[in-house]
């Protein structure tokens, strides 16, 4: 049984680190893992996605329409943008933060109202969190990606993997304490 996981967000939000830690943990657990992400120009504030597929044997790294078992959106309008990727009945985790894209900032386009409500109307299995607020309360807004990691680990029921060890392995020592707290907060959301 192969599970497909889609991370979506905005370039610079730290989705790549989360997907890196996740895939390392999945490998440790003995899964075959394929992960695919896009680098380069898209990352300058553009919309970014990372696809992770894991199971006994995985061939293609690509996730198609209606194929993601779990989708985690680091920004709410990005959840709406990629919603058709989520499998019917799949789990959606949304970070309730707004990041205005440039066309909105310059007044060419509008940032929609009622994003969360629209997502809730459509998706049964949805969880809305505010990882930025949690991270801010911990004193480091940049740790919001690790809050998201905690929340995702819980949704995937993978708490048995030693994620704290992996967080330590992927971050400089001075950031360990705050990110472990961020992870634990995410787990308990």
């Amino acid at each position: 049984m192969v599970k497909s996981l889609l991370l979506v967000g905005v370039g610079g939000q730290g989705t790549i680190l989360v997907s890196k830690i996740l895939s390392q943990g999945l490998i440790k657990e003995g899964y075959d893992v394929k992960m695919s992400e896009i680098h380069g120009m898209a990352q300058r504030g553009g919309s970014v996605t990372t696809q992770i597929r894991f199971g006994e044997k995985v061939y293609s790294p690509s996730i198609g329409t209606g194929e993601a078992d779990v989708m985690i959106a680091f920004e709410k309008v990005e959840a709406a943008r990629y919603l058709q990727q989520l499998k019917k009945g799949g789990r959606l985790i949304v970070n309730d933060v707004e990041m205005y894209p440039l066309p909105v900032l310059t007044g060419k386009e509008k940032y929609p109202n009622g994003v969360i409500e629209a997502l809730k109307d459509e998706v049964e299995n949805i969880k809305v969190i505010n990882a930025r607020k949690v991270a801010e309360e911990l004193g480091e807004v940049k740790a919001q990606n690790i809050v998201m990691l905690g929340c995702l680990v819980k949704a995937l029921e993978l708490e048995n993997i030693d994620w704290i060890e992996l967080i330590k392995a992927n971050l400089p020592e001075k950031l360990h304490e705050i990110n472990i707290k961020a992870y634990e907060s995410g787990l308990n959301l």
Binding site: V33, M35, S36, R44, S60, S62, Q84, P103, L105, A118
Partner: protein, 587 residues
């Protein structure tokens, strides 16, 4: 030991294990991380070369000198390096020579898409295509062996999804092969017509037939028997997508060595299956060959040649296209194109040039391409590396002939300047112009993720080196001192003055903007506590600050605010505010 590696990391590991001793590249998505990872192996001399042609020439010399040599580039890089490639395909190698081309069928970060497999039959170099990270590593080792055995460069073709996908890789040990002895052999290594003619015949009558025989017998090309009703010939990432869709319900001819293609194997496979599909991304490279053998197959009539393939696309076109019931949020989703970062030093000069009406801007490849986006809208053309200057000259000549009175500004970045902007600059001086050449020196190769370049004072291997002085070059090629301005683009007054002088100049004029990329770690550390803030009771909501296109500045519910997390206190917004309503905070 097994490790989770991207295709790029695995290629680097393969080079290490194969005993590679020299590696060169110019950075370009999706190939950049290959050399970044190679450079972590101290046994390999590795360098950022100034461009792909130089990189392949360095690797060629190293190969003839006896070193197993690798060169890596993005697909368009091979166009730049095509000149040495074609001749090296004649000369052959001493130490193995592997040329990695990372193609981008999905155009995630490229100006075009191209299928560089076609370079193989054109140049007569051998071609390989790995499908996943494990194969990336294993195939590089094969590639060096093939290169030395058949005396040919090997084109090693990967694509974005192979480069940037991670998979498990079984690691091995490094095999030290040393540096082969070089002996002078002008018939082999000096390509004058007489020698070239002999080589041409040798390749046609000897190398290609030998390689074709190898292709028919190598384990790099293999048949996986499943249900014989459907047979699939495929290569690269398409193999994995096809496997995902058809599993054991089809048989596969999986091609890893793809020039020359294995004719006998294809004939045998085609005979055994009822229906034959060729599933490949981009061009019908394999398909055309299969058809040339007189074998019927189904391919590009259904499988798109544009964009990346996926299991979903293959399923829809070859199995059944059924409308899926999917979620859809009932809201209008705004677009989110990439944008110049908050604090980007390019913003200042773009803002000043954006105020000029009768100008044409020839831009170039790099973060600064994004200057074309609203609200700055600076940019009329982007073609390829270096064209920012040279195409600008052409524009200026055309306008002159047409009697159009427009000023041409050509933009290039620092790394682009060293890559191929310098030749354009010399050309512009030599052929006389009044165009303005703007060199955006942000002290790094930014778009590809911060690689060193000749202007940074550090090599890929971390050694301190000479800083090649852009201003000195500009002077040396003949731009007069009075026609050069070196400005800090965070200072708008200074930048505006330079743009004005440039606009009025009647001779070739150069502006160099100097300010490091805002994302460089040291810069981020230094500016960590700097930010700008809107003083609410002074703000008249005139929206002047929104005209600089900074992603940190927004207006919500008629309140302008600056996102402190993004802002680095560059103060460009404060300088454009007519009411002094933006203040710089922090130290």
């Amino acid at each position: 030991m097994k490790k989770l590696l991207t295709g790029n990391e695995a290629i680097a590991r393969g080079a290490y294990e194969a005993g590679c001793t020299v590696a060169c590249a110019y950075p370009g998505t999706p190939s950049t991380e290959i050399l970044e990872n190679v450079s972590t192996y101290k046994e390999i001399y590795s360098e950022w070369s100034t461009n792909e042609k130089v990189a392949l020439e360095v690797a060629s010399g190293a190969s003839i000198g006896g070193a197993r040599s690798l060169v890596a580039m993005k697909h368009v890089g091979l166009n730049v390096a095509a000149d040495p490639l074609f001749t090296m395909a004649y000369e052959g190698v001493n130490g193995g020579l592997v040329v990695i081309t990372a193609d981008e069928p999905g155009l995630h970060s490229s100006q075009n898409a191209q299928d560089n497999r076609l370079y193989a039959p054109h140049s007569k170099a051998a071609l390989m295509e790995p499908s996943d990270s494990q194969e990336c590593k294993d195939f590089v080792k094969y590639a060096f062996e093939i290169s030395e055995q058949f005396d040919t460069p090997v084109i090693f073709r990967v694509t974005t999804r192979v480069c940037h996908s991670k998979g498990l890789v079984e690691l091995g040990e490094r095999e030290e092969v040393g540096i082969k002895e070089y002996s002078k052999n002008i018939r082999k290594y000096i390509m004058v017509p007489a020698n070239s003619k002999a080589k041409q015949k040798e390749i046609e009558h000897d190398r290609i037939p030998s390689l074709r025989k190898y292709s028919n017998n190598t384990p790099l090309n293999r048949i996986e028997w499943g249900d014989k009703k459907i047979g699939i010939i495929t290569s690269g990432i398409s193999y994995l997508h096809a496997k995902e869709v058809f599993g054991d319900e089809a048989s596969y001819l999986k091609i890893g060595f793809s020039y020359p293609l294995p004719d006998e194997m294809i004939k045998k496979f085609a005979k055994t299956v009822d229906k034959l599909y060729v599933i490949e991304e981009s061009e019908p490279y394999i398909e055309n060959f299969v058809k040339s053998l007189g074998i019927e197959c189904i391919g590009k009539e259904f499988i798109p040649a544009c964009g990346e393939l996926s299991p979903e696309i293959i399923r829809n076109v070859l199995v059944k296209d059924e409308a899926k019931d999917v979620y859809k949020a009932d809201i209008e989703v705004p677009s989110r194109p990439p944008a110049l970062c908050a604090g980007c030093p390019h913003r200042g000069i773009f803002y000043e040039v954006s105020k000029l009406k009768d100008v044409v801007v020839t831009s170039d490849i790099g973060c600064y391409t994004l200057g074309m986006a609203p609200p700055l809208n600076v940019g009329d053309t982007v073609i390829c590396m270096g064209a920012g200057i040279s195409a600008g000259l052409g524009f200026e000549k055309a306008f002159k002939l047409a009697g159009v009175d427009k000023k041409v500004f050509g933009f290039v970045g620092d790394s682009t300047f060293f890559h191929s902007g310098m030749t354009g600059l010399v050309n512009a001086v030599y052929n006389k112009t009044n165009m303005v050449m703007v060199i955006l020196d942000n002290r790094i190769t930014a778009m590809t993720g911060h690689q060193q370049n000749p202007g940074t004072g550090k090599t890929l291997m971390g050694e301190v080196t000479e800083i090649v002085d852009i201003e000195a070059i500009v002077k040396a090629v003949g731009i007069k001192e009075e026609n050069i301005r070196v400005v800090d683009p965070y200072k708008l007054e200074e930048t505006k003055k330079a743009v004005k002088d440039a606009y009025e100049a009647t001779e070739p004029f150069v502006i160099i903007t100097k300010q490091p990329c805002a994302l460089i770690k040291e810069v981020q550390r230094r500016r960590k506590n700097m930010y700008c803030e809107v003083v609410e009771d002074k703000c008249k909501k005139c929206k002047s600050c929104l005209k600089i296109g900074c992603p940190a500045i927004s207006i919500r519910d008629n309140v302008v605010s600056i996102d402190r997390a993004q802002c680095n206190g560059c103060t460009i917004c404060a300088q454009v505010c007519p009411f002094d309503a933006i203040e710089r905070m922090g130290e």
